[in-house]
Symmetry: C2
């Protein structure tokens, strides 16, 4: 069965507060090489038949917020 | 600067309640081709120099919960 990975990320111009917090915590643990951390979602969908148009519709309607997020699809098999 | 993507997913044997809810909502919207949805995290790290061992340490200590989650690294550039 085809599997699609949807990567949802906050638009680059927006401040990612969760990522900022994670970066701060990693600095406290001594990982000074870290410059930035940004946190997004990975949604794995298993579909009976893959239709890119319909998967994009799912993203626009429910999986991502197009006002503040970008998304990218990757067909696994 | 090297960028690493960390994909954190719930172990396959565990019930993903958030994914189940998303799948239910998509079915109600008429996407009957959807069989399963699972939700994970995508963490993008920008590091001054990439050392796989240290990034794996960050995952084990903070970014993932190794008891219930798996993770995978992808070096972008």
């Amino acid at each position: 069965m085809p599997k699609v990975r949807v990567f949802v990320t906050l638009k680059p111009s927006l401040l990612d507060t969760a990522g900022r917090t994670v970066a701060g915590a990693l600095h406290k643990l001594g990982y000074d090489e870290l410059e930035e951390a940004r946190i997004g979602k990975l949604i794995e969908l298993e579909v009976k038949d893959y239709d890119e148009k319909r998967v994009k519709e799912m993203c626009d309607k429910l999986l991502a917020n197009p006002v503040i997020e970008d998304y990218r699809l990757e067909l696994v098999k």
